[in-house]
Amino acid sequence: MLEKNSRERIEKALNHKESDRIPLGFDAHCCGIHIKTYRKLRESLGLDPGKAKVFDRIQQLGGLDQDFKEQINNDAEGIYSNPPSGWEFKREDRDKYWEFTDEFGIRWRMPKEGGFYYDMWDHPLQKADSIKDIEALEFCDPQDSARFENVAEQFASAARLGKAPVFNPNTGGIFEMALWLRGFEEFYQDMILNPGMAEALLDKTLDYKKKFWEKALEVAGEEILVVAEADDIASQDSLLVSPDMYRKFIKPRHKELFSHIKKQAKSRAYIWYHSCGAVKRLLPDLIEEGVDIINPVQLSAADMNAEELKREFGKDLVFWGGGIDTQKALPNFSPEEVKEATKKNIENLAPGGGFVFAPVHNVQADVPAENFFAMLEGLEEMNK
């Protein structure tokens, strides 16, 4: 049976049902394309490459334009909030680097030569030594109306186009934000040496998030479908913290955030959760917290075998990603190999629904255009 539109197609996937074709999930968080590659792709499709603009400065992603999304038959539509009033992006020229300070006071920089992304290097709470210091840090108002100025229009536009809206997060998850605000090594050590400070900071980032989504969901109204949160808890080979530590510090707060989002949403909202790396060990915990969709399904990480993941968690989780590995396959394989690898992953993840196609994370600057199209061909062949 043919689905009426993209939204219906993705809704079916979210309800673990197959549809006329496998839905395509670009434009959700971490399902983007690096600006350099995006320009090449536009050119190959006969679209004006000059139109491409950077929309995610940190990851240097191109804003995917409607003409491009139409050509590749994308089903998802990313919804984005804006920066708060009183903060604007100012690029500073510092020696070897381009630098800026974000709305939280975190400093980022990118090497002028040979740089691909902004990375943080200075953290506002790095020198904090008490709970008081943590409480004293002030954030821009998470409910500031400037953040949500054109959000209702974006939802209306997605509805007109029949696309499935994915409300993307405006910053990292509660754990990531704690690491970014405090500094990675400092926060990791706090979790053992100063657990009170760690909990206070996590409460603070949780509070920010709850308030942000409260307002965001009010503006989104009944059109809401997917709410995306990203909180990396794993590395290539392992978890970032022990399962016990995750369960003590992070899990209760994830659970609180996700149930808050579901409660505040005006209609059924699906929680889309992103963590790179070897997350398999914690998937049962995430399911318990109310996560509906997992991304990016990093097949190249330890113990992240597509077939096993589908068998063990396919009933409870929708896989949004896992379409093609972006560390080795997409940049380095031949187009034919990319196509075959794509088809193999789809064979493992798609049966019975519960799958939205996307590469494992953003398509990076080192991906040849032919490989991107070979990936789409693989998807197309599996749709026949």
Partner: protein
């Protein structure tokens, strides 16, 4: 003997003050600095590395152990120098040009220090020429390079090529690591070794210098 057990226990608990006073007590009791280093600090960090490799402990536990080790080393180092105890070798460490990531690299540095090596950490975004100059200046035995990005990984090959050009390749061992890096890649670009994690890095560097 108890001092050594205390050092190991306190190091694992991340108790920096405890390790420091254990080292002081051990020295006062007449134990040699070398024995405290080998049987206390290095043994403890070896266990930490092993547990990290086996997913029994994670980044936070390694960081607090390394911090405790550092505070013990502050007491121990001057005595080791007085006793003319030679280090296991000097390792120059850095993240390659274009790449600003350093947690993995820092963990490697800490574990190598715990393994008795002199570590010269150059930081992130290091150009080939800077590596070369520092290698010459410090007479380091090993160059350890890190890259987190598929897009900056090729710079590791460039550094190795530059080492060849300037005639340093035969004098220094090269080990590489980072999330997207593999042993195949190490072989392909002509590195001497690849380490999957900070614990393995210590083993690999030891093997290379045998």
């Amino acid at each position: 003997m108890d001092y050594l057990i205390n050092i190991i226990e306190n190091l694992h608990a991340g108790n920096a003050e405890g390790v420091k006073s254990n080292v002081e007590q051990a020295l006062r009791s007449g134990m040699s600095a070398d024995e405290i280093l080998q049987q206390g600090m290095m043994k403890a960090m070896g266990i930490i590395g092993e547990k990290f490799k086996n997913d029994e402990i994670f980044v936070p536990e390694v960081l607090v152990a390394a911090r405790a080790m550092k505070s013990g080393m502050e007491v121990l180092k001057p005595v080791l120098i007085d006793d003319k105890v030679e280090s296991q070798g000097a390792v120059l460490l850095g993240t390659v040009k274009g790449d600003l990531h350093d947690i993995g690299k820092n963990l490697v540095g800490m574990m190598l220090e715990g393994g008795g090596f002199d570590v010269i950490d150059m930081g992130v975004d290091i150009e080939a020429d800077e590596f070369v100059n520092k290698l010459r200046e410090e007479q380091a035995d090993v160059l350890a390079m890190s890259a987190l990005l598929t897009t900056t990984m090729p710079e590791m090959k460039n550094v190795i090529d530059v080492l060849k050009e300037v005639g340093l390749r035969g004098k220094v061992k090269v080990i590489i690591g980072g999330a997207p890096v593999t042993s195949d890649y190490a072989e392909q670009i002509g590195a001497d070794a690849y380490a999957k994690d900070a614990g393995s890095a210590v083993d690999k560097v030891k093997e290379m210098l045998l």
